[in-house]
């Protein structure tokens, strides 16, 4: 079965003026139709850069290598005409801060109308009716009265709903949601995540959910990939990744997370910090912070190993995760 989107060996290098700095070191990832894939990792791990590269949104200083196939069509190096037919139409994207993604001087009805005209050629009464339907669909109360509002007249949660309505305007096959609820309060976050799940199931739309919040990804995705320093280090079904992670970085992230229930324990922090892209260690980028690292880890970047069908990790010493890891960490 062909995937909707298949990234293979995707690389991104940024031209700093003096030299090229590699931000993405060959990412392989595929998304099937209707599937929800989570991408987790800390700041600078390459979660957002991956998808900005797919859509050709990184600007002139970025060199993109590898391959991105959308239904068999190559997007890397594709002419602008091809990419423009993909952006917003086949693959839509929403961002963390809705207020800065919306144009503050245009009414929200006009902004959604613009997307409808561009992607579906709707104008006039048809566009207005479709705008109303979309606003209603994303749960904006009294949508007809909201059409003429400006973004500053809406709350953060409502602005994110407007962004989602705009993203839906092109009836995309894939929605990239980049930290869609990070700027929102907990109760509003719950509303937006529930909405995204509902829209995805109703429209058979695939979704890539980029988040630093492991809980958000665990609850909203079928499959999850963990990124570290520009590479995917582990990938599995959400259930398996959070239930039986094998890579020490994934395990470290889980140990570092405070619990909401159960006994209070001292957090097992990962020592050190994420390396800068200009100063990556040789071999496995996580080795300097890894409790299981040995000499071989610094020698070469570990290749992916398939641990069980659908579960792969780039680690020389994958190991089961369990109570023992936590106990050791606490002691």
């Amino acid at each position: 079965m062909g995937a909707l989107v298949a990234l293979s060996g995707l690389t991104v290098d940024f031209d700093t003026g003096k030299r090229m700095v590699r931000a993405l070191h060959g990412v392989d990832l595929s998304v099937a139709r209707g599937e929800a894939v989570g991408l987790v990792g800390e700041s600078g791990s390459g979660k957002s850069v991956t998808w900005l590269a797919v859509l050709g949104l990184l600007g002139g200083r970025a060199r993109i290598g590898g391959s991105v196939l959308l239904d068999g069509t190559e997007l890397v190096g594709a002419p602008v005409r091809v990419l423009e037919a993909v952006r917003g139409k086949r693959i839509a994207m929403i961002f963390q801060d809705p207020a800065s993604s919306l144009n503050p001087v245009h009414r929200i009805g006009r902004q959604i109308g613009e997307a409808l005209a561009l992607h579906r050629g709707l104008t006039g009464a048809a566009a207005r009716a479709e705008t109303l339907r979309l606003l209603d669909r994303v749960g904006i109360p009294a949508a007809a009265r909201r059409l003429d509002d400006y973004p500053h007249q809406l709350s953060g949660g409502q602005n994110q709903r407007v962004m989602i309505a705009m993203a839906l305007a092109g009836e995309p096959d894939l929605l990239i949601a980049d930290e869609p609820t990070t700027a929102l309060d907990a109760t509003i976050q719950a509303q937006i995540l529930a909405l995204l799940g509902e829209l995805r199931r109703d429209g058979n739309m695939a979704m890539v959910l980029i988040s630093h919040d492991l809980g958000v990804v665990a609850e909203n995705c079928d499959r999850v990939a963990v990124m570290y320093a520009g590479r995917i280090v582990e990938e599995a079904s959400a259930e398996r990744l959070f239930g039986a992670p094998q890579h020490p970085y994934t395990q470290g992230l889980l140990d570092a997370l405070p619990d909401l229930d159960g006994p209070r324990r001292r957090l097992a922090a990962i020592p050190g910090t994420v390396p800068e892209p200009t100063r990556l260690p040789p071999g496995c980028a996580f080795a300097p912070r890894c409790p299981r690292a040995e000499a071989a880890c610094a020698a070469a970047v570990p290749a992916f190993r398939m641990l069980t069908p659908g579960h792969r990790a780039a680690c020389l010493k994958p190991a089961p995760y369990g109570a023992t890891v936590r106990e050791r960490a606490v002691a």
Binding site: P141, S155, Q158, A190, P258, A269
Partner: protein
């Protein structure tokens, strides 16, 4: 139990102009908040944006004057701001913010940054200040070779450690920390949260810890106060409060937190709508328009913050009323 910091009926209202014709309105940012912080303990204030957490912190430090109510610190009423007595009290109460880069002076090295409060208050000789600053850098887990670096050369976690070292150098009894780990990545956040614990054990400092993240709060706090629209709606020990929230708002807040492993039987409550505007606080219980279990009395009578049998404080008619009613909810 002795008390280090005590707030009684603190309120801060702002006169604002609202709506098309600039109608005068009263924004109740904080509306009658009382709490105590014992020495070497941590009280956390949690709630969503606009609930009055940060305003409460500023009132406690005397950075803004209260409209009503009092703050008592180390047994004395907080002196009027910008007086000599206030500056003296402020040596004993420090503030840490979310964004360490914004809180640090970009032109000062780490060492001078940390020693600066001693310079300002003219404590000790130059050599003593330097020695003290180096000792604190060590206490917050920064190696001596970082002393000569500048803030932009440090990572986010290291910067927040510098901020903590600087806050601690005057040996305060209280540190007010406003979202101190919210800008940090998970692995770094864990390091800094552990540091909070260690510093409390070592220096006996109390924290007023402000956060929107309940998981973080549970990790560091001895007491948690949940705020909604300028008032405390529930207060208690974090374990009990998060396991069995008594106020419907706390219940919704706890259920809304995404977790990696969901405890069986924990249902998600998705609240309708946004928090109301603090200019037009609903009558009665401010939460009633969004409350899934509100009854008629909630619309007209403001519930008082009263003690439950387990010692917890809750402001909810239903929590104090008929137990069967609560079960039904």
């Amino acid at each position: 139990m002795s008390t280090l910091l005590s707030a009684r009926d603190l309120a801060r209202h702002y006169a604002v102009r609202a709506g098309l014709f600039g109608r005068r309105a009263n924004l109740r940012a904080v509306d009658g908040v009382s709490f105590d912080v014992p020495p070497a303990r941590t009280l956390a204030l949690v709630g969503e944006s606009g609930c009055g957490k940060t305003t409460t912190a500023k009132l406690v430090l005397g950075l803004i004057p209260p409209t009503a109510g009092t703050v008592t610190f180390e047994g004395k009423a907080l002196p009027a701001p910008n007086t000599a007595a206030w500056r003296e009290a402020r040596q004993r109460m420090q503030m840490v913010y979310q964004d360490p880069l914004g809180a640090l002076d970009r032109r000062l090295s780490v060492l001078r940054q940390v020693a600066e409060p001693l310079d300002i208050h003219q404590i000790g000789t130059k050599a003593e200040r330097r020695e003290r600053a180096l000792a604190l850098l060590d206490a917050v887990g920064l190696q001596p070779h970082l002393a000569g670096r500048y803030p932009h050369e440090l990572s986010g976690g290291q910067r927040q450690r510098v901020v903590l070292a600087r806050a601690l150098i005057l040996e305060p009894a209280l540190i007010v920390a406003d979202e101190p780990v919210s800008a940090l990545d998970v692995s770094i956040q864990a390091q800094v949260l552990n540091l909070f614990e260690d510093l409390q054990a070592r220096f006996g400092v109390a924290f007023l810890f402000i956060s929107h993240d309940l998981k973080v709060v549970r990790q560091v706090a001895h007491q948690v106060a949940v705020m909604y629209l300028g008032r405390i709606v529930e207060q208690g020990a974090p374990e009990a409060l998060f396991r069995e929230p008594a106020h419907p708002y706390t219940r919704a807040l706890v259920s809304a937190i995404p977790v990696v492993r969901r405890r069986a039987g924990r249902e998600r409550i998705v609240l309708e709508g946004d928090p109301p505007n603090p200019i037009a606080v609903p009558s009665g219980c401010a939460f009633h328009p969004r409350c899934p279990v509100a009854v008629a009395a909630c619309r007209s009578e403001t519930p008082a913050l009263k003690t439950l049998p387990d010692g917890r404080l809750v402001a909810c008619h239903l929590a104090h009323g008929d137990a069967a009613m609560r079960k039904a909810a």
